[in-house]
Each structure stands twice: as C-alpha cells, then as structure tokens.
Symmetry: C2
Subunit: 187 residues, 2 copies
Amino acid sequence: MLTGMPRRSDTTRAAILAAARERFAADGFERATIRAIAADANIDPSMVMRYYGNKEGLFAAAAEFDLRLPDMSHISLDDVGRTLVTHFFERWSGDETLLALLRAAVTQDAAAERMRTIFAAQLGPVAARVAPDPEQAARRAGLVATQILGFALCRFVLRLPPVADMDREEAIAWLAPTVQRYLTAAG
Amino acid sequence: MLTGMPRRSDTTRAAILAAARERFAADGFERATIRAIAADANIDPSMVMRYYGNKEGLFAAAAEFDLRLPDMSHISLDDVGRTLVTHFFERWSGDETLLALLRAAVTQDAAAERMRTIFAAQLGPVAARVAPDPEQAARRAGLVATQILGFALCRFVLRLPPVADMDREEAIAWLAPTVQRYLTAAG
DNA sequence: TGGTCAAGTCAACAGGTGTTGGCAAACGCT
DNA sequence: AGCGTTTGCCAACACCTGTTGACTTGACCA
C-alpha cells in the first residue's frame, strides 16, 4: 500500500526525525548515536531501525533538504549577491538540517554527495540565469559555495569569535559583493 | 631529562605521527582508529598510548601546525591578497596537517580550539599590519578565514566538482581580490 | 659479564556501538 | 467480541573501540 493515509506511527516517525536532525547537527554522524536519538524522541532504539532501516537510512531521511532559493527573475542584476546572501542567512538560521549536513559531509561520503547534488542542482541554475557566460555557471556556483559554506563553517561550526559575533547586517554587507562578483563579473 | 639527545625510539615516534596525520586527514578524528594508525606505522597499538598518552594526546601532537605566513612588509599593499592566497595554496597542498585539523575540528572541540588560535594568532597580525583600521584586524582576519577555509572545504573535503577541478591559477585569480578586499577595503 | 632500563609484544578488559528477534499491548475492522 | 496487524519494549548478540598491565627482548654501561 502506497496510499497517503496518515499512519498511527507518524508522530513517532516525526519525533525520531526531529531528534536525529538535532543530534546530527550538534555531534556529526559518528558521535550521534541511535540510542541518544531514541532517548531524545522518547522511544526505543529498535524503533529507529524499524522505520528507517539503519543509521545511514535515518541520516538520509533527516538530511532531506531544499535550499528554497528565491525567484531571481524579478530583481535587478545588481542585487543578486545581496539577495542570495540574505536568503542563505535565513536558511542557515531557521533550519538545522544544513548544519547537520555540513557536519556529516566531512566524514560521510553519502552526505558529501548530497551536498554536491544540492548545490549543483539548485545553485547551478541560478548562476546560469545571471552569469554573463552561462556555460561557466557551474564554476561560478562553486565559487559562491566556497564563500557561503566557508562562512557557515567559521560561524556555526568552528565559532571563530570575530565571525560568530558579527551581526547579520555587517556579515551580509561583507559577503554580498563577493557573491555578486563570483556570479556576474567578467571571467 | 630534557636534553635534546635523540632517543632510540624517535623513529617509531615519527612513524606514528606520520601515520596519524594521514589517517586523521583522510578519516577524521573518530573514524581514524588507533589500531589502524598503529598498523600503518608497523607497531603495536599500545606503543601509541605509551608515547602519546591517549588518542587526544596523539591528535594534539599530530595537529601541531604553523601557517608560516610570509613576511608582508616588503610587498606592495595591492599584492597582499594574491600573495596570501598563493601561500595558502602551497600550504594546503604540501602538508596534510591542515586537512586533518579541518576534518577533526568539525566534531572535536579541541581541534576547533586549535583552529581558532592558529587563525587568530597568525593571521590576525598580518591583518593588523595591512588593514586601514587596525582595531578591526580580527574581524578582517575572520573574513579571510571564511573564504580560505571555505575553498579548502569545497575543494579537498566535499570535492565539489567545479571547485576541485579548477586549476591553481584560476582559483587564485578568483580568490585573491576577495581576500584583498576583506583586508584592505574601507570598512 | 652481569645488571638496568628502555622498547616492543601479547592478551585481555570494560564499555559502547549498530542491529536483531521475540514478546506484550493497543488498535481497527468485521 | 474476536482476529490480524500495527506499535512498542526488552534483552541480547556480535563487533569494535580506547586503554591497561604483565611479560619478553634487546641495547647500553659499569
């Protein structure tokens, strides 16, 4: 049966997923144990296995993610950098899935692979639309990724004091021109 | 005895350290096991404990690192970005210690702390010397770190294809202006 | 040559991991 | 009410981890 009928266990499933995201984001893949996740979700560890198969399956489900990049077609080409950086800021702060993905991607190849496809499939098209040379969109998207991920790494993971303490507005003011240049400057 | 006399066990110590760096760089802190490191170094796991106390002590020894930033006092202020980016490129490629540090810092707080002090203590002074407002040197150094570490993350760890395939010259050409701006542009 | 100490080996421990199968209760349906 | 299915818990397995202590070997010096 593949019907969309809500099952009785859906709340448990959701609780597991929420706890998993939290633990993966805080501890990374290997240090986040199934036992700890189950305890957070107030259920038995064996339930995790029943619903998600194994630890990798659980991570795959917890790391489902959409960047939800805004529609760029109605804004000035000069505002692309600022718009994108602002959006990423929201996305990083509001959802810990990206953080879980980043922490896990450093040691888990499956997570790295997901990271690659997310940025290629979602950021690539944006770059293709605004770049002066669409055939180099992938490269430009990659450069944007280095700055966005590097900032997230320093602010949320490594917690370098000057980066972690910077307020939103100032961070955006510094990063936006960089992203703008990577996307629209002549290559 | 704190004499500099070379001990008979120094070659073993060095073999352990080399194997540790390799494993930590390739697998991260938790997946690099003492048994695997000992096997690589062709010795017994217990030797690791005798010489380095425990796993954290081994990592601390293996993650000793100096950025060896070049002397900036004799180059034009406009070349600071390019010089710095070029130097980092060499440093990342020639020594896997930085990679080990980055992989471990994502889940090990001790490694993150070392990363913080390395960048604050070594990159900070450089920023202080070239920034138009030395009191904000730390912030500028932090921004440089976001771009440098983000590039290393995407190229060596996540292996985002467009970033991993970029050749040296092109990467430097893209990153240098960013670093230059973070260091010397008006705040 | 005999003795002292470092260098190295071996086997084991205690604890934690992902994962499995069996069993009890709750539920939904006819 | 009675039955099959779902949901959940419990105990255990097999494995791997860091770490320890006792023992053997070898080098160096008096």
